[in-house]
Amino acid sequence: MNELFKFIKKIWNPIGNLSRYRFRRIILQLFKYIILIILLLVIVIPIYWVFSTSLKPASEIQAWPPQWIPQPITLESYRYAFRLLPIGRFFLNSLIVTSVVIVSNIVTCSIAGYTLARKRFLGRNFIFGLILSSMMVPLHVRVIPMYLMSLKLGLENTYPGIFLPIASTGFGIFMMRQFFITLPGEVMDAARIDGCGEWGIVFRIVMPMSKGAVSSLALFALVWSFEDFLWPLIITSSTNMRPLQVGITLFLGLVVYEWGPVMATTALTITPMIIIYILLQRRFIEGITAGAVKG
Protein backbone atom coordinates (compact mmCIF):
# COMPACT_ATOMS: atom_id res chain seq x y z
CA MET A 1 0.00 0.00 0.00
CA ASN A 2 2.77 2.35 0.93
CA GLU A 3 4.44 1.61 -2.38
CA LEU A 4 1.28 2.64 -4.17
CA PHE A 5 1.19 5.99 -2.41
CA LYS A 6 4.83 6.60 -3.28
CA PHE A 7 4.08 5.73 -6.89
CA ILE A 8 1.16 8.14 -7.01
CA LYS A 9 3.32 10.83 -5.48
CA LYS A 10 5.92 10.23 -8.17
CA ILE A 11 3.38 10.52 -10.95
CA TRP A 12 1.92 13.67 -9.48
CA ASN A 13 5.34 15.17 -9.01
CA PRO A 14 5.36 17.18 -12.24
CA ILE A 15 2.27 18.92 -10.95
CA GLY A 16 3.91 19.09 -7.57
CA ASN A 17 6.49 21.37 -9.14
CA LEU A 18 3.85 23.96 -8.82
CA SER A 19 3.92 24.77 -5.18
CA ARG A 20 1.52 22.74 -3.12
CA TYR A 21 -0.31 25.90 -2.27
CA ARG A 22 -0.99 26.72 -5.91
CA PHE A 23 -2.05 23.17 -6.60
CA ARG A 24 -4.60 23.35 -3.83
CA ARG A 25 -5.84 26.62 -5.17
CA ILE A 26 -6.37 25.21 -8.63
CA ILE A 27 -8.34 22.29 -7.24
CA LEU A 28 -10.39 24.64 -5.12
CA GLN A 29 -11.08 26.89 -8.08
CA LEU A 30 -12.12 23.90 -10.16
CA PHE A 31 -14.46 22.77 -7.42
CA LYS A 32 -15.96 26.26 -7.25
CA TYR A 33 -16.61 26.28 -10.98
CA ILE A 34 -18.27 22.87 -10.86
CA ILE A 35 -20.71 24.05 -8.17
CA LEU A 36 -21.34 27.32 -10.00
CA ILE A 37 -22.05 25.54 -13.26
CA ILE A 38 -24.42 23.09 -11.57
CA LEU A 39 -26.28 26.05 -10.03
CA LEU A 40 -26.34 27.78 -13.40
CA LEU A 41 -27.91 24.73 -15.03
CA VAL A 42 -30.48 24.39 -12.24
CA ILE A 43 -31.55 28.00 -12.88
CA VAL A 44 -31.41 28.00 -16.68
CA ILE A 45 -32.88 24.62 -17.59
CA PRO A 46 -36.39 25.18 -16.14
CA ILE A 47 -36.59 28.51 -18.01
CA TYR A 48 -35.29 26.88 -21.17
CA TRP A 49 -37.83 24.09 -20.70
CA VAL A 50 -40.75 26.55 -20.88
CA PHE A 51 -39.59 27.83 -24.25
CA SER A 52 -38.72 24.41 -25.58
CA THR A 53 -42.10 22.94 -24.56
CA SER A 54 -43.95 25.88 -26.09
CA LEU A 55 -42.26 25.27 -29.46
CA LYS A 56 -42.94 21.54 -29.66
CA PRO A 57 -45.76 19.96 -31.64
CA ALA A 58 -48.53 18.69 -29.36
CA SER A 59 -47.61 15.06 -29.92
CA GLU A 60 -44.03 15.62 -28.76
CA ILE A 61 -44.79 17.44 -25.52
CA GLN A 62 -45.60 14.36 -23.53
CA ALA A 63 -43.01 12.16 -25.17
CA TRP A 64 -41.04 9.96 -22.82
CA PRO A 65 -38.14 10.36 -22.44
CA PRO A 66 -38.57 14.12 -23.02
CA GLN A 67 -37.04 15.66 -26.14
CA TRP A 68 -34.45 18.30 -25.19
CA ILE A 69 -34.62 20.13 -28.48
CA PRO A 70 -38.02 20.65 -30.13
CA GLN A 71 -38.16 18.94 -33.47
CA PRO A 72 -39.74 20.23 -35.61
CA ILE A 73 -40.12 23.73 -34.18
CA THR A 74 -43.72 24.86 -34.47
CA LEU A 75 -45.86 27.78 -33.32
CA GLU A 76 -48.90 25.50 -33.06
CA SER A 77 -49.20 25.99 -29.28
CA TYR A 78 -49.06 29.77 -29.61
CA ARG A 79 -51.80 29.74 -32.24
CA TYR A 80 -53.92 27.49 -30.06
CA ALA A 81 -53.37 29.76 -27.04
CA PHE A 82 -54.40 32.87 -28.97
CA ARG A 83 -57.53 31.08 -30.20
CA LEU A 84 -58.57 30.05 -26.69
CA LEU A 85 -58.06 33.33 -24.87
CA PRO A 86 -57.65 37.03 -25.75
CA ILE A 87 -53.90 37.09 -25.07
CA GLY A 88 -53.47 40.34 -26.99
CA ARG A 89 -56.03 41.98 -24.76
CA PHE A 90 -54.24 40.66 -21.65
CA PHE A 91 -51.04 42.23 -22.94
CA LEU A 92 -52.78 45.54 -23.56
CA ASN A 93 -54.31 45.51 -20.06
CA SER A 94 -50.95 44.84 -18.48
CA LEU A 95 -49.31 47.52 -20.56
CA ILE A 96 -51.87 50.14 -19.51
CA VAL A 97 -51.78 49.20 -15.84
CA THR A 98 -48.00 49.00 -15.73
CA SER A 99 -47.44 52.35 -17.47
CA VAL A 100 -49.83 54.14 -15.16
CA VAL A 101 -48.28 52.55 -12.08
CA ILE A 102 -44.79 53.54 -13.18
CA VAL A 103 -45.65 57.16 -14.02
CA SER A 104 -47.82 57.74 -10.99
CA ASN A 105 -45.25 56.23 -8.62
CA ILE A 106 -42.49 58.39 -10.05
CA VAL A 107 -44.54 61.57 -9.73
CA THR A 108 -46.29 61.02 -6.39
CA CYS A 109 -43.36 59.40 -4.60
CA SER A 110 -40.91 62.02 -5.82
CA ILE A 111 -42.90 65.05 -4.74
CA ALA A 112 -43.82 63.51 -1.38
CA GLY A 113 -40.26 62.30 -0.89
CA TYR A 114 -38.92 65.76 -1.66
CA THR A 115 -41.20 67.46 0.85
CA LEU A 116 -40.36 64.92 3.54
CA ALA A 117 -36.65 65.23 2.88
CA ARG A 118 -36.32 68.99 2.42
CA LYS A 119 -39.19 70.81 4.12
CA ARG A 120 -39.72 71.49 7.79
CA PHE A 121 -43.30 71.55 8.95
CA LEU A 122 -45.46 70.54 11.84
CA GLY A 123 -46.17 66.82 11.91
CA ARG A 124 -43.44 65.86 9.47
CA ASN A 125 -42.16 63.01 11.58
CA PHE A 126 -45.70 61.81 12.19
CA ILE A 127 -46.47 61.70 8.48
CA PHE A 128 -43.17 60.01 7.71
CA GLY A 129 -43.92 57.41 10.39
CA LEU A 130 -47.37 56.88 8.93
CA ILE A 131 -45.88 56.29 5.49
CA LEU A 132 -43.27 53.89 6.85
CA SER A 133 -45.91 51.94 8.74
CA SER A 134 -47.89 51.47 5.52
CA MET A 135 -45.07 49.20 4.36
CA MET A 136 -45.77 46.88 7.26
CA VAL A 137 -49.33 46.03 6.30
CA PRO A 138 -49.49 43.11 3.88
CA LEU A 139 -52.14 43.01 1.17
CA HIS A 140 -54.06 40.09 2.63
CA VAL A 141 -55.06 42.12 5.69
CA ARG A 142 -56.64 44.85 3.61
CA VAL A 143 -57.98 42.94 0.69
CA ILE A 144 -61.60 42.46 1.78
CA PRO A 145 -62.33 46.10 2.70
CA MET A 146 -60.45 47.17 -0.43
CA TYR A 147 -62.74 44.98 -2.48
CA LEU A 148 -65.92 46.19 -0.76
CA MET A 149 -64.85 49.81 -1.25
CA SER A 150 -63.98 49.26 -4.91
CA LEU A 151 -67.37 47.64 -5.50
CA LYS A 152 -69.11 50.66 -4.01
CA LEU A 153 -67.08 53.06 -6.14
CA GLY A 154 -67.84 51.02 -9.27
CA LEU A 155 -64.17 50.17 -9.80
CA GLU A 156 -64.69 46.48 -10.49
CA ASN A 157 -63.39 45.51 -13.94
CA THR A 158 -61.82 48.92 -14.54
CA TYR A 159 -58.20 49.91 -14.98
CA PRO A 160 -58.21 52.36 -12.03
CA GLY A 161 -59.62 49.51 -9.94
CA ILE A 162 -56.52 47.48 -10.74
CA PHE A 163 -53.82 50.12 -10.49
CA LEU A 164 -54.97 52.50 -7.75
CA PRO A 165 -53.80 50.34 -4.81
CA ILE A 166 -50.21 50.52 -6.03
CA ALA A 167 -50.38 53.95 -7.68
CA SER A 168 -48.34 55.36 -4.81
CA THR A 169 -46.38 53.25 -2.37
CA GLY A 170 -44.80 53.72 1.04
CA PHE A 171 -41.67 52.00 -0.16
CA GLY A 172 -41.35 54.36 -3.13
CA ILE A 173 -41.74 57.46 -0.98
CA PHE A 174 -39.24 56.12 1.53
CA MET A 175 -36.74 55.32 -1.20
CA MET A 176 -37.01 58.75 -2.82
CA ARG A 177 -36.79 60.55 0.52
CA GLN A 178 -33.66 58.61 1.46
CA PHE A 179 -32.09 59.60 -1.83
CA PHE A 180 -33.13 63.26 -1.80
CA ILE A 181 -31.68 63.71 1.69
CA THR A 182 -28.24 62.93 0.33
CA LEU A 183 -28.41 65.64 -2.37
CA PRO A 184 -26.47 68.85 -1.61
CA GLY A 185 -28.82 71.58 -0.43
CA GLU A 186 -26.71 74.33 -2.06
CA VAL A 187 -27.92 73.42 -5.54
CA MET A 188 -31.53 73.89 -4.51
CA ASP A 189 -30.74 77.14 -2.70
CA ALA A 190 -28.97 78.46 -5.78
CA ALA A 191 -31.99 77.61 -7.92
CA ARG A 192 -34.26 79.33 -5.42
CA ILE A 193 -32.16 82.51 -5.54
CA ASP A 194 -32.33 82.43 -9.32
CA GLY A 195 -36.11 82.57 -9.00
CA CYS A 196 -36.96 78.93 -9.50
CA GLY A 197 -40.18 77.89 -7.76
CA GLU A 198 -40.50 74.78 -5.61
CA TRP A 199 -42.13 72.79 -8.41
CA GLY A 200 -39.35 73.82 -10.73
CA ILE A 201 -36.81 72.65 -8.18
CA VAL A 202 -38.47 69.26 -7.90
CA PHE A 203 -38.97 68.59 -11.60
CA ARG A 204 -36.04 70.46 -13.14
CA ILE A 205 -33.29 70.12 -10.53
CA VAL A 206 -33.91 67.34 -8.02
CA MET A 207 -35.36 64.67 -10.29
CA PRO A 208 -32.80 65.06 -13.09
CA MET A 209 -30.11 64.84 -10.40
CA SER A 210 -31.62 61.55 -9.20
CA LYS A 211 -31.89 59.63 -12.45
CA GLY A 212 -30.57 56.49 -10.79
CA ALA A 213 -33.12 56.53 -7.99
CA VAL A 214 -35.96 57.41 -10.35
CA SER A 215 -35.15 54.58 -12.72
CA SER A 216 -34.83 52.13 -9.83
CA LEU A 217 -38.26 53.20 -8.67
CA ALA A 218 -39.61 52.74 -12.19
CA LEU A 219 -38.25 49.19 -12.24
CA PHE A 220 -39.76 48.42 -8.85
CA ALA A 221 -43.10 49.73 -10.04
CA LEU A 222 -42.83 47.52 -13.11
CA VAL A 223 -42.13 44.46 -10.97
CA TRP A 224 -44.95 45.29 -8.53
CA SER A 225 -47.54 45.68 -11.23
CA PHE A 226 -46.45 42.45 -12.89
CA GLU A 227 -46.22 40.45 -9.71
CA ASP A 228 -49.43 41.55 -8.13
CA PHE A 229 -51.67 38.51 -8.43
CA LEU A 230 -54.28 38.37 -5.68
CA TRP A 231 -55.61 41.89 -6.21
CA PRO A 232 -56.09 41.83 -10.00
CA LEU A 233 -57.59 38.36 -9.63
CA ILE A 234 -60.23 39.66 -7.23
CA ILE A 235 -61.02 42.99 -8.85
CA THR A 236 -61.42 41.68 -12.39
CA SER A 237 -64.14 39.18 -13.15
CA SER A 238 -64.55 39.68 -16.88
CA THR A 239 -61.98 37.87 -19.00
CA ASN A 240 -61.33 40.99 -21.07
CA MET A 241 -60.10 43.01 -18.12
CA ARG A 242 -57.61 40.47 -16.77
CA PRO A 243 -53.99 41.54 -16.83
CA LEU A 244 -51.53 39.08 -18.33
CA GLN A 245 -50.36 37.41 -15.14
CA VAL A 246 -53.95 36.59 -14.15
CA GLY A 247 -55.18 35.89 -17.66
CA ILE A 248 -52.67 33.15 -18.38
CA THR A 249 -53.82 31.14 -15.39
CA LEU A 250 -57.28 30.84 -16.95
CA PHE A 251 -55.92 28.04 -19.12
CA LEU A 252 -55.89 25.77 -16.11
CA GLY A 253 -59.68 25.87 -16.17
CA LEU A 254 -59.98 25.52 -19.95
CA VAL A 255 -57.58 22.74 -20.82
CA VAL A 256 -56.71 19.61 -18.94
CA TYR A 257 -53.09 18.58 -19.14
CA GLU A 258 -52.46 20.40 -22.39
CA TRP A 259 -49.15 21.98 -21.58
CA GLY A 260 -48.47 23.44 -25.01
CA PRO A 261 -50.71 26.54 -24.78
CA VAL A 262 -49.99 26.95 -21.06
CA MET A 263 -46.25 27.03 -21.66
CA ALA A 264 -46.70 29.26 -24.72
CA THR A 265 -48.39 31.94 -22.62
CA THR A 266 -45.97 31.41 -19.76
CA ALA A 267 -43.17 32.05 -22.23
CA LEU A 268 -44.95 35.20 -23.44
CA THR A 269 -45.21 36.45 -19.85
CA ILE A 270 -41.63 35.68 -18.94
CA THR A 271 -40.04 37.07 -22.11
CA PRO A 272 -40.69 40.80 -21.62
CA MET A 273 -39.50 40.64 -18.02
CA ILE A 274 -36.33 38.78 -18.94
CA ILE A 275 -35.57 41.18 -21.81
CA ILE A 276 -36.03 44.20 -19.55
CA TYR A 277 -33.92 42.51 -16.90
CA ILE A 278 -31.08 41.72 -19.29
CA LEU A 279 -31.08 45.28 -20.60
CA LEU A 280 -31.29 46.95 -17.21
CA GLN A 281 -29.88 44.40 -14.79
CA ARG A 282 -27.45 46.84 -13.24
CA ARG A 283 -30.34 49.12 -12.23
CA PHE A 284 -32.29 46.17 -10.81
CA ILE A 285 -29.43 45.08 -8.62
CA GLU A 286 -28.51 48.62 -7.57
CA GLY A 287 -32.11 49.36 -6.64
CA ILE A 288 -32.42 46.27 -4.52
CA THR A 289 -29.13 46.69 -2.69
CA ALA A 290 -29.78 50.40 -2.10
CA GLY A 291 -32.88 49.41 -0.17
CA ALA A 292 -30.93 47.06 2.08
CA VAL A 293 -27.51 48.55 2.58
CA LYS A 294 -28.56 52.16 2.95
CA GLY A 295 -31.51 51.05 5.03
Binding site: V141, I144, L164, Q245, V262, Y277, I288, T289, A292
Partner: protein, 297 residues
Protein backbone atom coordinates in the same frame (compact mmCIF):
# COMPACT_ATOMS: atom_id res chain seq x y z
CA UNK B 1 -59.14 89.09 -13.15
CA UNK B 2 -55.88 87.91 -14.59
CA UNK B 3 -54.06 89.59 -11.76
CA UNK B 4 -56.22 87.85 -9.21
CA UNK B 5 -55.62 84.47 -10.73
CA UNK B 6 -51.94 85.18 -10.62
CA UNK B 7 -52.16 86.15 -6.96
CA UNK B 8 -54.09 83.00 -6.09
CA UNK B 9 -51.59 80.96 -8.03
CA UNK B 10 -48.64 82.49 -6.27
CA UNK B 11 -50.21 82.02 -2.85
CA UNK B 12 -50.88 78.37 -3.68
CA UNK B 13 -47.30 78.10 -4.71
CA UNK B 14 -46.10 79.65 -1.52
CA UNK B 15 -48.20 78.08 1.18
CA UNK B 16 -49.69 74.97 -0.27
CA UNK B 17 -46.69 73.26 -1.72
CA UNK B 18 -46.35 70.96 1.26
CA UNK B 19 -49.94 69.70 1.45
CA UNK B 20 -50.24 69.42 -2.32
CA UNK B 21 -47.12 67.29 -2.64
CA UNK B 22 -48.17 65.00 0.19
CA UNK B 23 -51.83 64.74 -0.75
CA UNK B 24 -51.77 62.24 -3.66
CA UNK B 25 -49.64 59.75 -1.77
CA UNK B 26 -51.57 60.12 1.46
CA UNK B 27 -54.95 59.84 -0.26
CA UNK B 28 -53.95 56.60 -1.98
CA UNK B 29 -52.33 55.15 1.11
CA UNK B 30 -55.32 56.26 3.17
CA UNK B 31 -57.83 54.64 0.86
CA UNK B 32 -55.89 51.45 0.23
CA UNK B 33 -53.83 50.93 3.39
CA UNK B 34 -54.95 52.75 6.52
CA UNK B 35 -58.71 52.66 6.06
CA UNK B 36 -58.91 49.00 4.92
CA UNK B 37 -56.60 47.84 7.71
CA UNK B 38 -58.77 49.45 10.36
CA UNK B 39 -61.91 48.28 8.64
CA UNK B 40 -60.61 44.71 8.61
CA UNK B 41 -60.10 44.90 12.33
CA UNK B 42 -63.63 46.24 12.69
CA UNK B 43 -65.11 43.52 10.49
CA UNK B 44 -63.36 40.80 12.46
CA UNK B 45 -65.62 41.57 15.44
CA UNK B 46 -68.82 41.10 13.45
CA UNK B 47 -70.95 38.33 12.15
CA UNK B 48 -71.49 39.03 8.47
CA UNK B 49 -73.82 38.03 5.71
CA UNK B 50 -73.16 38.69 2.02
CA UNK B 51 -70.69 41.51 2.64
CA UNK B 52 -72.85 43.16 5.31
CA UNK B 53 -72.30 43.25 9.04
CA UNK B 54 -75.16 41.63 10.94
CA UNK B 55 -74.26 41.39 14.58
CA UNK B 56 -71.44 42.35 16.90
CA UNK B 57 -69.87 39.18 18.24
CA UNK B 58 -66.73 40.49 19.91
CA UNK B 59 -63.91 38.00 19.95
CA UNK B 60 -66.02 35.04 18.88
CA UNK B 61 -64.30 34.60 15.50
CA UNK B 62 -60.91 34.65 17.15
CA UNK B 63 -61.92 32.12 19.79
CA UNK B 64 -63.49 29.78 17.28
CA UNK B 65 -60.46 30.03 14.98
CA UNK B 66 -58.27 29.07 17.89
CA UNK B 67 -60.00 25.71 18.04
CA UNK B 68 -60.59 25.39 14.32
CA UNK B 69 -58.82 22.33 12.94
CA UNK B 70 -58.60 23.61 9.35
CA UNK B 71 -57.19 26.98 10.36
CA UNK B 72 -54.61 25.28 12.55
CA UNK B 73 -53.50 23.05 9.69
CA UNK B 74 -53.26 26.05 7.35
CA UNK B 75 -51.25 27.90 9.94
CA UNK B 76 -48.89 24.99 10.52
CA UNK B 77 -48.40 24.50 6.77
CA UNK B 78 -47.63 28.19 6.31
CA UNK B 79 -45.07 28.14 9.12
CA UNK B 80 -43.38 24.97 7.86
CA UNK B 81 -43.22 26.43 4.37
CA UNK B 82 -41.87 29.75 5.66
CA UNK B 83 -39.13 28.26 7.80
CA UNK B 84 -38.08 25.89 5.01
CA UNK B 85 -38.14 28.49 2.26
CA UNK B 86 -36.45 31.24 4.25
CA UNK B 87 -33.63 29.04 5.54
CA UNK B 88 -33.16 27.49 2.10
CA UNK B 89 -33.01 30.91 0.47
CA UNK B 90 -30.51 32.19 3.03
CA UNK B 91 -28.21 29.17 2.77
CA UNK B 92 -28.24 28.97 -1.03
CA UNK B 93 -28.08 32.76 -1.45
CA UNK B 94 -25.17 33.08 0.96
CA UNK B 95 -23.43 30.16 -0.73
CA UNK B 96 -23.79 31.82 -4.13
CA UNK B 97 -22.50 35.11 -2.75
CA UNK B 98 -19.45 33.49 -1.11
CA UNK B 99 -18.63 31.62 -4.32
CA UNK B 100 -18.84 34.82 -6.34
CA UNK B 101 -17.07 37.09 -3.87
CA UNK B 102 -13.63 36.64 -5.40
CA UNK B 103 -11.99 37.39 -8.73
CA UNK B 104 -13.51 34.83 -11.06
CA UNK B 105 -13.85 34.48 -14.79
CA UNK B 106 -17.47 34.81 -15.91
CA UNK B 107 -18.56 36.20 -12.56
CA UNK B 108 -21.05 38.60 -14.13
CA UNK B 109 -22.72 35.83 -16.10
CA UNK B 110 -23.20 33.71 -13.00
CA UNK B 111 -24.49 36.64 -10.98
CA UNK B 112 -26.95 37.80 -13.64
CA UNK B 113 -28.27 34.31 -14.20
CA UNK B 114 -28.70 33.50 -10.52
CA UNK B 115 -30.81 36.61 -10.09
CA UNK B 116 -32.95 36.03 -13.17
CA UNK B 117 -35.72 33.87 -11.62
CA UNK B 118 -36.50 36.75 -9.28
CA UNK B 119 -37.99 38.81 -12.13
CA UNK B 120 -40.34 36.05 -13.28
CA UNK B 121 -43.91 36.92 -12.21
CA UNK B 122 -45.30 34.57 -9.56
CA UNK B 123 -48.12 33.26 -11.70
CA UNK B 124 -45.75 32.33 -14.55
CA UNK B 125 -43.40 30.82 -11.98
CA UNK B 126 -46.18 28.62 -10.62
CA UNK B 127 -47.19 27.47 -14.11
CA UNK B 128 -43.58 26.75 -15.04
CA UNK B 129 -43.12 24.48 -12.04
CA UNK B 130 -46.55 22.94 -12.41
CA UNK B 131 -45.31 21.48 -15.68
CA UNK B 132 -41.79 20.66 -14.56
CA UNK B 133 -43.05 18.85 -11.46
CA UNK B 134 -45.57 16.80 -13.43
CA UNK B 135 -45.30 13.29 -11.98
CA UNK B 136 -45.30 11.46 -15.32
CA UNK B 137 -43.83 13.78 -17.93
CA UNK B 138 -42.11 16.36 -15.73
CA UNK B 139 -38.51 17.29 -16.22
CA UNK B 140 -37.59 17.00 -12.54
CA UNK B 141 -38.55 13.34 -12.31
CA UNK B 142 -36.82 12.69 -15.62
CA UNK B 143 -33.57 14.17 -14.33
CA UNK B 144 -33.92 12.34 -11.01
CA UNK B 145 -34.27 9.19 -13.09
CA UNK B 146 -30.66 9.62 -14.27
CA UNK B 147 -29.61 9.16 -10.65
CA UNK B 148 -31.81 6.12 -10.24
CA UNK B 149 -34.39 7.93 -8.14
CA UNK B 150 -37.97 6.78 -8.62
CA UNK B 151 -40.53 9.35 -9.82
CA UNK B 152 -41.76 11.53 -6.97
CA UNK B 153 -45.46 12.53 -6.96
CA UNK B 154 -44.54 16.10 -5.98
CA UNK B 155 -47.89 17.88 -5.95
CA UNK B 156 -50.02 14.79 -5.55
CA UNK B 157 -48.66 13.58 -2.23
CA UNK B 158 -49.23 14.98 1.22
CA UNK B 159 -45.63 14.70 2.24
CA UNK B 160 -44.04 16.14 -0.92
CA UNK B 161 -46.25 19.10 -1.68
CA UNK B 162 -44.71 21.53 0.84
CA UNK B 163 -41.12 20.51 0.02
CA UNK B 164 -42.02 21.14 -3.63
CA UNK B 165 -43.24 24.66 -2.80
CA UNK B 166 -40.12 25.27 -0.72
CA UNK B 167 -37.91 24.14 -3.59
CA UNK B 168 -39.73 26.47 -5.98
CA UNK B 169 -39.29 29.44 -3.68
CA UNK B 170 -35.60 28.74 -3.08
CA UNK B 171 -35.15 28.53 -6.84
CA UNK B 172 -36.89 31.85 -7.38
CA UNK B 173 -35.54 33.95 -4.54
CA UNK B 174 -32.00 32.76 -3.80
CA UNK B 175 -30.60 35.18 -6.36
CA UNK B 176 -32.27 38.03 -4.53
CA UNK B 177 -30.56 36.98 -1.29
CA UNK B 178 -27.27 36.53 -3.17
CA UNK B 179 -27.33 40.10 -4.49
CA UNK B 180 -27.89 41.46 -1.00
CA UNK B 181 -25.22 39.24 0.56
CA UNK B 182 -22.74 40.26 -2.14
CA UNK B 183 -23.39 43.91 -1.32
CA UNK B 184 -22.98 43.09 2.36
CA UNK B 185 -19.69 41.25 1.77
CA UNK B 186 -18.32 44.29 -0.04
CA UNK B 187 -18.88 46.44 3.05
CA UNK B 188 -16.58 44.22 5.15
CA UNK B 189 -13.16 45.90 5.23
CA UNK B 190 -10.22 43.74 4.06
CA UNK B 191 -8.21 44.81 7.10
CA UNK B 192 -10.38 42.63 9.31
CA UNK B 193 -9.46 39.54 7.32
CA UNK B 194 -5.80 40.57 7.29
CA UNK B 195 -5.86 40.99 11.04
CA UNK B 196 -7.48 37.59 11.44
CA UNK B 197 -4.83 36.04 9.18
CA UNK B 198 -2.06 37.59 11.25
CA UNK B 199 -3.68 36.15 14.35
CA UNK B 200 -3.54 32.74 12.67
CA UNK B 201 -7.27 32.20 12.10
CA UNK B 202 -8.24 29.49 9.65
CA UNK B 203 -10.54 30.23 6.70
CA UNK B 204 -13.32 28.45 8.51
CA UNK B 205 -12.83 30.50 11.64
CA UNK B 206 -12.69 33.72 9.63
CA UNK B 207 -16.06 32.85 8.10
CA UNK B 208 -17.71 32.23 11.46
CA UNK B 209 -16.04 35.03 13.42
CA UNK B 210 -15.69 37.80 10.86
CA UNK B 211 -17.95 37.27 7.84
CA UNK B 212 -21.13 36.02 9.47
CA UNK B 213 -21.31 38.53 12.34
CA UNK B 214 -20.71 41.41 9.94
CA UNK B 215 -23.40 40.16 7.60
CA UNK B 216 -26.00 40.37 10.35
CA UNK B 217 -27.74 43.55 9.13
CA UNK B 218 -28.06 42.16 5.60
CA UNK B 219 -29.20 38.79 6.91
CA UNK B 220 -31.88 40.46 8.99
CA UNK B 221 -33.10 42.35 5.95
CA UNK B 222 -33.23 39.20 3.82
CA UNK B 223 -34.98 37.23 6.56
CA UNK B 224 -37.65 39.88 7.09
CA UNK B 225 -38.28 40.41 3.38
CA UNK B 226 -38.49 36.65 2.83
CA UNK B 227 -40.78 36.06 5.78
CA UNK B 228 -43.13 38.81 4.66
CA UNK B 229 -43.33 37.04 1.35
CA UNK B 230 -43.47 33.41 2.44
CA UNK B 231 -46.02 33.89 5.21
CA UNK B 232 -48.37 35.14 2.52
CA UNK B 233 -48.15 31.95 0.47
CA UNK B 234 -51.08 32.07 -1.95
CA UNK B 235 -50.32 31.72 -5.65
CA UNK B 236 -48.90 28.19 -5.45
CA UNK B 237 -51.77 26.55 -3.54
CA UNK B 238 -54.33 28.60 -5.47
CA UNK B 239 -53.05 27.63 -8.90
CA UNK B 240 -51.42 24.27 -8.38
CA UNK B 241 -53.16 22.32 -5.63
CA UNK B 242 -56.25 24.16 -4.35
CA UNK B 243 -54.84 23.45 -0.91
CA UNK B 244 -54.68 19.71 -1.52
CA UNK B 245 -54.06 16.85 -1.52
CA UNK B 246 -56.40 16.78 1.46
CA UNK B 247 -55.34 19.88 3.36
CA UNK B 248 -51.63 19.33 2.96
CA UNK B 249 -50.92 22.61 1.16
CA UNK B 250 -53.63 24.79 2.63
CA UNK B 251 -52.13 28.18 3.51
CA UNK B 252 -53.52 30.97 5.67
CA UNK B 253 -53.89 33.48 2.84
CA UNK B 254 -55.54 30.84 0.65
CA UNK B 255 -57.99 30.18 3.48
CA UNK B 256 -58.61 33.94 3.84
CA UNK B 257 -59.35 34.08 0.13
CA UNK B 258 -61.64 31.05 0.22
CA UNK B 259 -63.51 32.21 3.31
CA UNK B 260 -63.80 35.82 2.10
CA UNK B 261 -64.52 35.41 -1.59
CA UNK B 262 -65.96 31.93 -1.93
CA UNK B 263 -67.86 31.23 1.29
CA UNK B 264 -68.44 34.99 1.66
CA UNK B 265 -67.83 34.88 5.40
CA UNK B 266 -65.89 38.14 5.55
CA UNK B 267 -66.01 38.58 9.32
CA UNK B 268 -64.26 35.30 9.95
CA UNK B 269 -61.93 35.86 7.03
CA UNK B 270 -60.94 39.26 8.45
CA UNK B 271 -60.22 37.69 11.81
CA UNK B 272 -57.80 35.27 10.09
CA UNK B 273 -56.15 38.17 8.30
CA UNK B 274 -55.71 40.07 11.55
CA UNK B 275 -54.19 37.03 13.25
CA UNK B 276 -51.69 36.51 10.43
CA UNK B 277 -50.84 40.20 10.45
CA UNK B 278 -50.17 40.11 14.20
CA UNK B 279 -47.97 37.05 13.77
CA UNK B 280 -45.95 38.75 11.03
CA UNK B 281 -45.68 41.89 13.14
CA UNK B 282 -44.52 40.06 16.26
CA UNK B 283 -42.01 37.93 14.36
CA UNK B 284 -40.55 41.06 12.75
CA UNK B 285 -40.17 42.82 16.10
CA UNK B 286 -38.62 39.74 17.69
CA UNK B 287 -36.18 39.37 14.81
CA UNK B 288 -35.07 42.97 15.07
CA UNK B 289 -34.55 42.46 18.81
CA UNK B 290 -32.76 39.20 18.24
CA UNK B 291 -30.38 40.62 15.67
CA UNK B 292 -29.97 43.70 17.84
CA UNK B 293 -29.12 46.31 15.24
CA UNK B 294 -29.53 50.04 15.39
CA UNK B 295 -28.96 50.94 11.77
CA UNK B 296 -32.15 49.27 10.59
CA UNK B 297 -34.76 51.88 9.75
Amino acid sequence: MKNRMKRIYSSIKKYHFIPITLAPALIILGAYVYYPTLFSLYLSFFKTQLYKTVEFVGLEHYLSLFHDQVFRIAFKNTLVYSVGAVSGTIVVGLGMALLLDSPLKGKDIFRSTFFMPYVIPFAAHALLWYWILDPRYGLVNHVLGFFGINPIPWLQSRSWVLPAFILMDVWKRSGFAMVLFLAGLQTIPDELYDAATVDGASEWKKFWKVTLPLLRPVTLFVVIMSLLHTLQLFVEPFLMTKGGPGQASLSVVYLIYREGFRTLNIGRSSAMAVILFLVIFIITILLIQFFDIEEIY
